[in-house]
Symmetry: C2
Subunit: 671 residues, 2 copies
């Protein structure tokens, strides 16, 4: 055969199998320490190690020493910019969460400081996020509402909010400490896309309350009941409020439009909200808006965050709901914060340790819950502004916290004139951007299943409730992963003309199989969940003679199983390979294996499989395997005729009925 | 480069991408019709099709026409042999399920007939199984016991048993009709192994009741409470009973031993139980065993199965438990029955349609529940005897049913003298065989995780309860599947000396990489659950310079991603590839792709990914890719220096903060 003559003959390396300890270690490492945090500790002095460790756990010690004035200039600029965004966002999102607006301002003071110490992202700007705020409000609102019997009980509600934040913090910190960042990986992009778009829709709808200056409003979040409660009280609509709202909204959307046209003008849309608020305040103050039915935020007291640790409420009556709320929102906040931290880090080409971030977020929320803040994370809008404003380190968060402190100490009261309609406009403008229809369309084109996942989240959120939508969607994502494992592809491989390349005959029709030999490429993994399927599938391939026109199934004498792509196998999978071989031999077909990867080789060795089929029928490449097949085409035929079939049948005719299942019975015949 | 000169240049086949319809169809087919039942309908006349269809749904029409006397001789022999096993097993397992023994005999009359019509396995012998009997007893016993307030309420208990059987039947039939055989695949061999061994242990322990002639006994199944209830009443022990029991047990174990020594003597162990029963009856009759505290089965009335459809009890008070019991036992029964049917079919080298079997089992149990039978399936012991006795078709089941009918009509009363101790001995002997310690040890050697799964089932069953054990174990199996998806291996590939083979450098230390080029082999699949991991892992490989001594990471200029083993990718995975490329280019590293499989190619096409990276950087083989890299080593360097970096940074410096996550932001830069 051409192209193979001058190859040196290579054999599968059976010697180089790792000990159980080694492979376990590497598995655990890849599972829980994928980012390999220990690498940096290699070849360090004890002191160096200690220093590294300190820097690892408190990243601030990593960047602060190298800090210089040039950085500081950038960070101050960025810090001020995000403050201008933090104030309106804080007030609005606090309203979204049915909390006193001041809580929103508190939440932009303490948490950023904590994050600046523990956080490893340079670009993340800490703050509240709309989706999480609404989700919390929905969950806690239930108990706080029911119990109080009336609309709801503000004090209890507030305390439960702090408690939920505390639990979120604990949960996030634990995830981080136990290196369970892997959990967050199961919130797929499609899920988040659908969830966010859905949330954006319902939040925008809810803003109609503020826009139309409605007094009473439903607590349900689903589209139907929100729309109903809007249109059930048309007579309550206040045109003044609506007019003002539309003006603000148009302005904000215009600033966004500007930025879209010219990214350099991002700062216009960044300060847009604060401008809206200021203008709103002035307007409300001089036009006595209250008189014209334009309600304002109301009194905002001066002063820094009061301690709230004594307010945490672990009453078993509410605890289940609170814990549930804390965990769901915690995961969501992590998914958003970490995804964002990572993506910005990638752009500056450094990496982020998801688990470290979790710990940072955890501490941030624990401390936050002690100081009258509610759940914070790294919102995309703020972080993007931070990034665009050219922040260099987490110092920008410290600057923001400082500005926020000044605001709380001196300016807070001024914002009490902010008209609710202005806040609604700000939120709506922000939400419109989150409805990513063209992204959804892209999903539809690229991957229908991902599209379904996103849609299930979207409609779950908009039609049922936020947590239901989230769970359905996550469930679908996991189902997909399981389906993949249950049905790995088995494809028939052929030889590309005049080359030593072997490719899927379906993909490359020009690839032709060697008469009498069938090459099957197995997909990974070979697990209990798919071994029955793979076995039957291979049997079918053999029956169909590879589904190739140019040969009949009858004259197949060799089957080469290419395991090159199989990266994992379990005991059931090994049994399956064994059966495939035995059944093939019953039909006088010889089976050999090509290119097992390292883990497979190890497993096949330790399970004695190699000894049974003999090292001579395991090859390093299809080329070698094919060579061998051709060589002993006849010889192997006699073999399978005389030697193998008898012993195969011998072991099979009498079953030891102690044994329960096919696997044991076949394994039995090996002992 | 040697060995590549004479290769014809091949390119990735971009043209041959299947339409969405085609690929969806094939996906659905592989998922729900893996056995391709329609194949046989191809090129048939309408009449032929109808015939085929009839034969497909009622396999009896497939084998009955071809049936001949020679077959019949074998089947009669087999049928009689399994009857001799069916009688004692029926009585004993009915006792296990706390049911009147006659129910066990009923269960070997009607269900076999039903199965003979619908079932596609030639070797399966229908009957009750120990594990399922106990599991049912445990579950139903709870409600039937609680409600009655006293030990339990036999009538209610019996009716609930029929109801559970009915529900099992419905459940199994539905699974089959909706082609959900895939569910059974998630009961891994390790799970069943551990579960069966655990069950065997607790059942054997429970038999001490019969062996020691105890009157009262706990209803708990866990080891602790069983042992306690045995040793709490030592004074109650009856030595006569114990002696007789031990004699029987020794005899039975001896027959098994014989078979182990010489498989041809399987029939000895096959008729062992019936001998035990007969001897037991005679002994009890003549020695007036009752007087010596050896209790017997008690009255068995003549006559065939009474209709029990009117006894089905759907009282909402019990329904939840009953449904739960029905579903769990149903799945378990399927897992055992189908696994066994499959394995025997394999030995005779024909295939079994799991979904068709489910329908058969379903009908079998539905009809059974109408005719005073409880849950039946294909027990291994019986089927193995059937197989060894040389059965040819399901006719052996009909023969068994016929013999059983005669028994019910004329002999039933005789068996009323059967001493319970004999039954206990029979059960114990059977159970001992199910404790597969050496199989467990093999698992331990081959696959530690499988071992854990088996152990969790074993200890869950023995220490907590059967269903808990089962669920923990299934949970672990699924967790493993998910972990696999979350952490696909990424390995660095090198070139084997003097060949065109590229292999994992960890597996083949002799494989050397080309300076300046790193080849990474990605594991399958690339999904949302692992894209973050894979991206970071690749980044780490690049930083570490491939972890190879003979080069520094700094001088890597090309990275070749080998997707040969990747069989599935979702949108997040595609985004990941895009980011990997972009970030590599930020460091002036050029990324190209080699050997994408058909599904990947399709996805990359539809997502415009190929257009973005350009077809020229996708190669059919590592060889080609490497050629290209070497060729434009410098050129590409300039590229990545001048052209790519700017546009990459250009798109990155200003983030559109409408977009939520990294994926959208990166995808954004493509629209």
């Amino acid at each position: 055969m051409r192209g193979s003559g001058e190859h040196v003959h290579h054999e599968v390396n059976f010697s180089n199998t790792r000990s159980f300890g080694t492979s376990l270690k590497s598995d655990l490492k890849e599972t829980f320490f994928p980012d390999d945090p220990f690498r940096q500790f290699q070849n360090q002095t004890p002191f160096g190690k200690a220093k590294k460790a300190l820097q690892y756990f408190l990243p601030i010690f990593e960047w602060l020493p190298k800090y210089n004035l040039r950085f500081f200039r950038y960070d101050v600029l960025a810090g001020i910019t995000i403050t201008s965004l933090a104030i309106p966002q804080g007030i609005s999102y606090a309203k979204l969460a049915n909390l006193p607006p001041i809580i929103g301002l508190y939440s932009s003071f303490v948490p950023p400081l904590v994050y600046a110490v523990f956080g490893s992202s340079k670009d993340l700007a800490v703050g509240n996020v709309a989706a999480v705020s609404v989700l919390l409000a929905e969950q806690i609102g239930h108990v706080a509402g029911h119990v109080a019997g009336k609309e709801d009980d503000p004090a209890l509600y507030l305390h439960l909010m702090f408690t939920a934040t505390f639990i979120t913090g604990i949960f996030q910190a634990i995830l981080g400490l136990f290196r369970l960042g892997i959990l967050v990986d199961f919130l797929s992009h499609s899920t988040i896309l659908g969830f966010m778009s859905g949330t954006a829709v319902i939040i925008s709808l809810q803003q109609l309350k503020g826009m139309l200056g409605l007094k009473k409003f439903t607590h349900q979040t689903d589209v139907i009941s929100v729309t109903k409660s809007v249109f059930s009280q048309i007579h309550e609509w206040r045109w003044e409020s609506a007019v003002v709202g539309i003006i603000f909204l148009t302005f904000l959307l215009f600033t966004r439009h500007l930025k879209k046209k010219n990214p350099k003008l991002f700062w216009v849309s960044a300060i847009g909200p604060i401008l809206t608020v200021i203008v709103g305040c002035l307007f409300a103050y001089f036009a006595h808006a209250e008189k014209h039915g334009i309600t304002t935020v109301g009194h905002l007291s001066k002063g820094l965050n009061p301690i709230s640790i004594q307010l945490l409420n672990f009453d078993p009556k509410y605890l289940p709901t609170v814990v549930r709320a804390g965990i769901i929102t915690g995961l969501l906040a992590l998914a958003e914060g970490i995804a964002i931290g990572r993506s910005f880090a990638m752009m500056k080409n450094d990496q982020i340790d998801g688990n470290k971030e979790m710990i940072a977020f955890g501490f941030m929320n624990i401390v936050g819950s002690f100081t009258s803040c509610y759940l914070t994370t790294g919102p995309f809008s703020k972080s993007a502004v931070n990034f665009n404003a050219g922040c260099k380190t987490a110092m920008s968060n410290i600057v923001m916290a400082f500005c926020m402190m000044l605001t709380l100490l001196f300016l807070a009261p001024l914002f009490s004139y902010t008209p609710l309609v202005a806040l609604s406009a700000i939120i709506m403008a922000a939400m419109f951007g989150l409805i990513e229809y063209e992204e959804a369309y892209r999903l539809f084109k690229v991957d229908k299943f991902d599209f379904c996942i996103a849609m299930s989240a979207f409609f779950g959120v908009t039609l049922v409730s936020m947590d239901v939508g989230l769970m359905i969607s996550v469930g679908l994502s996991i189902l997909r992963a399981l389906l993949y494992v249950a049905r790995p592809p088995v494809s028939c491989v052929g030889r590309m003309p005049d080359s030593t390349l072997y490719r899927d005959t379906q993909q490359y029709p020009s690839a032709s199989t060697v008469p009498g030999v069938m090459i099957l490429k197995l997909g990974s993994p070979l697990y209990f969940a798919n071994s029955a399927y793979v076995r039957d599938r291979i049997a079918r391939w053999i029956q169909e003679g590879g589904g190739l026109k140019d040969q009949k199934g009858s004259d197949i004498e060799h089957v080469i199983l290419d395991l090159g792509g199989v990266t994992s196998i379990d005991s059931t999978g090994i049994e399956m390979l064994y059966e495939v071989r035995r059944n093939a031999e019953l039909n006088g077909i010889k089976v050999c294996i090509s290119n097992p990867t390292i883990e497979i080789t190890e497993k096949l060795m330790s399970s004695k499989f190699i000894n049974i089929i003999g090292k001579e029928s395991v090859f390093i490449s299809m080329e070698e395997a094919l060579e061998a097949c051709r060589f002993n085409l006849n010889e192997s035929k006699q073999k399978s005729g005389s030697k193998n079939t008898p012993n195969a049948t011998e072991t099979d005719t009498y079953i030891d009925d102690d044994k329960l299942s096919r696997c044991s019975s076949s394994s039995k015949s090996r002992h």
